[in-house]
Symmetry: D2
Subunit: 355 residues, 4 copies
């Protein structure tokens, strides 16, 4: 039984970790960290856990935690994990960081987009970017995993095969993303009030959202070079779910007869299948079916599909996931499973809930 | 492995049966009945089931089904199950009917409130009202179970202990219930369109809703006499969840010194505990905490609590459940578990999802 | 042109006052008071007012205001208005207080339910309870009007004629109310976050909500005696709207032949018509039509109807209004119109918006 | 007083025409056409109009209508208006068609995208595309106006000045649009049910939506040549509102010193101001403020803003409107005002409702 400690257990991502791990047969949460609710019963904060979780919330003491648990999840604001880890801790316990602290390899890029000084850049090198579908083998050996962002997971998985296979021009990539409100966290702020979000949609962080460099870095690896793209997030009046609609110009390829032509449905589909055929959590939908966030709600799936627009020579790629599961806690547990040699899907066979 | 057939698998309750049974380790669905979608892939109707369910939808042939399965769930409109069952079928297979056909013992009451002629009144007598918390032992032996209505389950469990213990005057009971929209089913009707339900609340079926006689019958058994009460359902702009707010006049009891006085918090709490202390799926909340539908979403729990109003001598009881789980499919699986000698909670340890 | 000052112009009720008064042909807002946003442009706080309102927010200086305006609206938390008014101010300017400070005649009741000491009880006597449908003539002469609460307006208007006419037993009255989330105000609190309210319904303030004594006082005047009743508010996932479902036992009356019998549809309808036939803003619906909050959204209407339940001898009364209009700002403007001798409906002929 | 007839008065756009015209001081609706509800009271279909509209619904007899009214609004499915108009009718009455029948000048394009044969192509030439901000003078003289589509109005107004001024490359234009559900109409279809739309977002009509050629035609006029672009609509869980997020590559211009450089904030802002400075219903927001659909709800405004992304050389343009007002009925009334020589904003000074 893997002993788990969570720092930041009362945020929405932390709560989702608790929901998933509570039903995980090989893991047991022994530390519900929450600086805001120290010594309060966890089930008073999240009443859904009444009679399921009896523990009280604890402070964020990573040193003590390292003695008691096998793995620490940090579901905390940027900067906290980087300020707490050290050699001693990493020698005793595995760390899965749900914040952005170890996602970006270039510390200058991190510091520019996040506006904070990185407290432990010495660990960035060894940290593994925990997108299991891309980095499975590295995750298995990691002691420090940078769990990907919600928008980034959706964006990367949606576009990755086409960039990797050279089917689209990566620099034409425009990602228009839409997210449910849980992505904004549980902080009490006016813009997140029910009456401000309900019956409303808006873009935010236009040309400046912090997930941009993370997407660029990862898709840049696929492209084999540095790329620059547009990413625009939107706030949607729903609790969960991210939908990515991504646009790119198709690159012509040489046909059997040597002539150049744009890739067709079959070629694009084959590229997706090449990378995702054996991926349990990535579902490439049947032709003509658009992903909908509701179809993956509560589950670890990403649903992906695409439409070729011959008029403009562009492809429209679409991806949908649950931002709290595959976009956060589910992916983190998937990483944990790999790191501890468990079946990757253990505790993650969550059937999407509809309606 | 229990072989399961579902008639009405593409309604919302049918879909929820599929969601729950797909993750049930001792059951296997072998027949997805749906007259509207015969020969279509089930996962085309409910895209959340893509790559999870590969089967196609079948017609509603109960005779054939009886040969192939161990238990049939009928998640169909009123009248259908009663028109299909016969001695031969009941001798071969267990039937759990999610419609109202076998819930009401007095056929005249059924026919009056539902406005249809009962096609097989001869089975009403043997049918067991499948509210496991009240009729556990009878369910275990039943071959025909009448799965309770969603509003009724919530209403009955909320008021039962107080009526049974004589703490409230059953004839003063007023049940004001609020339901999410999935309770209205998946039929394409203007009043259920998004724009008609969203940003709106209304009462409906006032003084005439069909769950009224079902509540009266079951609570009448608790009272030991026929009772009459008010039940008013409301349509709430949310997908899932029922909240019952029930009002009744407290009955004075004799204290240790022989004087009459109204029951206090401790006495009421003791009554709830007497009946629900060992019930896994009924959670009597801590003092001062009001049930919220969100806290039970996706799970088989009913959350219950109460407030005594000394000014008026009344008690306000509150109960919350997920209408598709404890109010329909979850309760049906709970019944199945009992009927087949499985642990009652098998496949039902669904942790509520929040947010 | 009436010069208007608003204290608390950036709350939801204050914002609605601005929306209504902006289109009022005989009024002009000259003071947008908002302690939180002093010197910020009003249209930065409420971007819907961009290019409509150019003013900046001002501090809450009632003395200065009294020199500059003809009427002050206080859309502020309890206690503020009572702490600011004085003889000098009341001699110069009319005050319409949207808080509870002057609604309750018995200061002890106010202090008990609100938990604060009343700062100017000397004005409670002269303050007129500004429910125009009941107190029209007094409002016309008032210099200090206590604008009714949102729940109370809906509850009182729904039950008033039947109590006044002795058709129901006032002490059996149970009011189950449901409100949109704007009623909770614009304060940044976790329970009002989108993800906490959405897909959820709950009761709150059970047996303790502050609108209870206000309803009891006003309906007590109609009954001609002190009454006690149950009032339970619920939070509904929608922005606007209050629905009241009220239950009471019908009182038998003497028929033409001297025998006692319960009132029938015609008698109840006649009672409603007696009081509301000429009321522009109260719409008693046609038989069988249940009020829905969406049908009054954005307007000053209250929609009312009822169903008699002969089985239980009770009547179910229903009322719906927009909590920010007839439940707050609309009613306040209606009061202003009366106080300044304008047509009562001036600026209030807002057609409900659907969907 | 202008006498108005509406064909299709019980759809959502028709209902909005009724809401707006009811409060219009120079217009009077004398014909509420609705084939589905003939002889039913209009206020039974839209209960919000109880005691406001007393008329009953009439059949769609355009010949008879032409005798009785000054202007006919057709808020009907594609094809109906084109099948009904003729010389006689157009000689007697002005027609404002809210369908797509007369929006597209090239009948072959219309027939290809809409899949129907145009019944009266002879009137396409004289029909004026009723986007008042672009075609004001032509609208004044028109007897047949093609009221623009909701998505198209938002898309065109958002991009128009930059294309007209040659600041962006029109062929790089990608329009990602998000709409509330009222845009799908009031037809009873499963995909528009509350439970299917709520808590969900999806793209639809990808690379095939019928508003595409309409946008291309109108923006092509601005570009002075045929253009091709991408347009992707999404369904958002809210009643009203369209948000357009549009991406395009900025075109370098010659600076004062003859060197080429991308346009900066000031140049882009100046272009918007050039066209919209005097437009009452187009609000170009202050720097840094993103349009939100809620801020224009219930009003005839379009809110527009933009962000330059220097990293990619693209501009992100954003526009928001209420699809039933500026996107349909409000624009139609704006056209009517122009056609009858009234002030353009008559009856349209609707203050946006928030929240």
């Amino acid at each position: 039984m893997i002993k788990v400690g969570i720092i930041g257990a009362t945020g929405y991502a932390g709560g989702e970790l608790v929901r998933i791990l509570t039903a995980h047969k090989d893991a047991e949460i022994v530390w519900y960290g929450s600086r805001s609710y120290i010594e309060e019963k966890y089930a008073k904060v999240y009443q859904n856990m009444f009679q399921i979780v009896d523990d009280v919330c604890m402070d964020d003491n990573m040193e003590e935690l390292a003695e008691k648990v096998d793995v620490i999840f940090t579901a905390t604001p940027q900067g906290l994990c980087a300020s707490l880890v050290n050699d001693d801790i990493l020698s005793k316990v595995k760390v899965i960081d749900l914040s952005a602290d170890f996602r970006i390899k270039d510390v200058a890029v991190y510091e520019k987009w996040y506006g904070i000084t990185h407290q432990s850049p010495q660990y960035i090198g060894e940290a593994v970017y925990g997108l299991c579908e891309l980095n499975r083998e590295d995750v298995k050996k990691a002691r420090l995993v940078a769990n990907p962002g919600c928008y980034t997971t959706c964006s990367i998985l949606t576009a990755y095969p086409l960039i990797k296979e050279g089917l689209i021009d990566a620099d034409t990539l425009i990602i228009d993303a839409k997210s449910g409100t849980s992505g904004a966290g549980r902080g009490a702020k006016v813009p997140n009030l029910y009456c401000e979000v309900n019956e409303n949609i808006k873009a935010y962080g236009v040309a400046s959202h912090r997930h941009t460099p993370e997407i660029e870095e990862q898709l840049g690896y696929a492209a084999g070079r540095k790329i620059t793209l547009n990413f625009t997030p939107h706030l949607v009046p729903m609790n969960r779910g991210i939908l990515v609609t991504a646009y790119a110009t198709l690159l012509p390829g040489k046909g059997a007869d040597g002539s150049l032509s744009l890739p067709d449905y079959g070629q694009i589909k084959a590229a997706y299948d090449k990378y995702y055929r054996d991926e349990k959590f990535v579902r490439v939908l049947e032709k003509g079916v658009c992903p909908e966030t509701k179809w993956v709600e509560g589950s670890n799936y990403v649903d992906i599909n695409f439409v070729i627009d011959e008029r403009t020579g562009r492809i429209i790629m679409m991806g949908a996931l649950d931002n709290l599961v595959k976009g956060a806690a589910g992916a983190a547990v998937q990483n944990m499973n790999l790191m501890f040699g468990l079946p990757e899907h253990e505790g993650l066979e969550l059937v999407p809930m509809f309606p």
